[in-house]
Amino acid sequence: MAEGSAAALWNLAGRRLGARRAVRVALTVLALIVLVALVGPRFSPWGFDSLDWQHLAQPPSTVAAHWFGSDRLGRDLFVRTLYGVRLSLLISVLATLVSLVIGVAWGAVAGFSGPRTDGFMMRIVDVLYALPYLFIVIILSSLFARGSLTVLLVTLGAVGWLTTARIVRGQTVSLKRREFIEAARALGLTEGAILVRHLLPNLLGPVLVYATLTVPQMILFESFLSFLGLGVQEPQASLGNLIYVGAQEMQSAPWMLIVPAAFIVALLVCLNVLGDALRDALDPREY
């Protein structure tokens, strides 16, 4: 892919995005959360698994530097929440990348091939779609180490790529009938070169939008698995298992639920606003 085309795409999209206030707010909040998640724990005297027997289940206060309070075991919620944000973001971004790589390759090849290969490849996707994913997750996590990061990534990626493949395949089918693809063939490009030089760059827009909207889905999904006890395990903290513990203590220690929940809501809202705006900015009708 040529740098020039990518630059133009980004310039155009960037200009349109910058023009919207909601986007600027969302980007600022997102950057703040990531920044705090990265450097915040350094300012706290506590580690994510260190116990403070003097202050069990303490509400947020400046006493003993438990700014967001502590949990039943006296672990500092400020540090644990920020570690949770890190882990949740890491897992969701990686899982999105995994699902993009597989999904784009699968969908583009299926859409660009003849009807027979296309049909075969997409029926595989249909079959995988039909399998109850929770069941697969339970099997995977009982076969391998429970809460292993790799297993979690594989699981999330395995579920995520199916939708990506369908979206990419649909785009590819409509793109390959366009005259510029025919023109490339008349120029004597090989099918592979057409795929790489003409199809993928044109797929970039929709895929990017989809990716931005997938990251929050992955955060939610990871939280859901952790909530069920299938994801990240104690004493590791993710937003999901923090919320799980917080939900059990909701009546006696509401901050244990409110703090991680506030972070997940902020993340989801920002990412969704960004994804929607990106979709509008890259809308081909606006060219």
Binding site: A186, L187, H198, N202, L204
Partner: protein, 620 residues
Amino acid sequence: MRWIPVNTDAVPVPLLALAGLGVTFETPNGTVTAVEAVNLAVGAGECLGIVGESGAGKTQLFLAVTGLLEANGRSRGSARFRGQELLGRSAAELDRVRGALIGMVFQDPMSALTPHLCVGDQIAEVRVRHLGESWGAARASARRLLERVHVADAARRMHQFPYELSGGMRQRVMIALALAAGPQLLIADEPTTALDVTIQAQILALLLELKRSAELALVLITHDLGAVAGLADRVAVMRHGRIIETATVARILKEPRDPYTLTLLPSASAFSAAAAGTAPAAAAAAALTVSHLTVDFPIARGLFARPLRLRAVNDVTLELAAGESLALVGESGCGKSTLVRAVLQLLAPVSGRVAWLGRELGTMPKEELRALRPQLQIIFQDPLASLDGRQRVDEIVGEGLRVHARKLTAAARGAAVRSALERVGLEAALGERYPHELSGGQCQRVAIARAMILAPQLLVCDEPLSALDIPTQQQIVALLAQLKREAGLCLLFVSHNLAVVQQLCERVLVMYLGHTMELAPAPLMYATPRHPYTQELMNALPLADPQLQPARLARVRDGEPPSALAPPSGCVYRSRCAHALAVCAAHTPPWEEVSAGHRIACHRWRELPAWKPEIPQLRE
């Protein structure tokens, strides 16, 4: 004050008067002026043509009159309809005028009709809304309206949806819709631009008939001065948002005040045999040989039913000598584009052979064919769609060299791209732009540069003009003619319009429903077409002559090509032919030789009356 007086006696002349009407758009890059202070009047029952290139502001002018500008558009000045100001009215007030007293017809009927309503209900809705008819009465009126616009089998069509109709039929429905409430003014914005020449003639004939019978004032917006010549009483020529002249058609054709005006007229005044290309060099060796080529498309019919086969090209044989140009002419769906794609091996034929310089392309290994590709190039109808929107112009033009001249350094390739751009009349600096930043004509030049940089010997042109304005069309024709002269190109030129190929091609092949109808040297084809279908195509060409054209339009016969899935038996053209006999239904006509180089597929060509060319009186 009552809005729109019911008493029509009091209607002041003119019907529509525009004074100082201007249109501006607020964009992120500042205010853009689309129309500057236009003064114009349309009298009752008059037909006014608004002619100009795309971007001249002609559409925006009338969108402003009807209050349909985009949200960022602002209009100023005055637009009085029957003495009442239209500008600045609320939507509710305008709704009593739009559709009721002013009808509108748009260029693309597919997007102007609601896809999920059957056409009968769409027309009836206007009657219910504006005339207060009951739905039953409105449906009966809708059927009468469809009959009035010559929709065959109106009772059945009432219940069809827009996607089930052909382009010409949709435009008729659109006109019926615009007429539904009995308007006094009909605004038609490029009503025939998206249509074949034959269907264009039918629609123009219909508009002429309506204008005469219904006391209807007509505003016809178009980029083609030739198309309105037979219809309009007066013509206003627009350029850069201004009206540069207004006069009667005869006056504008005879002595235009602005030289720009005549560039809006298709230059090829058909029927003048002298203007046609030179006769082909006799007995030159064939460069391209196509023999008995047949192409089918499978039409899927669900999971288990066997797919239907649509025969797009049926047993076509032709030869092209080196440096010779052949035009393929016919209505949309006649298989001409499919034929050239099969020639270039972009589609696989069912049977038949294609040979280039004696080497058969169909059986050649893929690698060899790819190496041969530079010699066989193509340019497409939609110039923007044929360019990759994510690539810069210089990448697009240089792409062929990247593939076929790998050893070339980036600098040498850049130089080749710049000279290719200059050769097609583009500044080298345009190489840094993206296709969507260019005009249609510039995009088409980029597509030509992309093909020409490989020094092809055969250039296939698939309707390269039909998406362009008339002046741009003429520039592209001139460019192709020049490239052909300089490079000794073979051209295979596909078009639905006999007139546009005249300057470029030495021979013309007319196709209908996948079959070849007539093949002749161009001068012969334009002077004495023998096949009834060729004659129909010739009659459909708009003639820029206000004296001759109305009579020609009145002779236009309705009719559209039947579905290629169920072609008529025998001669496929017989269902539309005025001269068809029993023999035409029984046997497929042979591909007979009339004289050297002139072939025809018609049972009755010997007996049919000779065709008389009409020479325009006003223009040389």
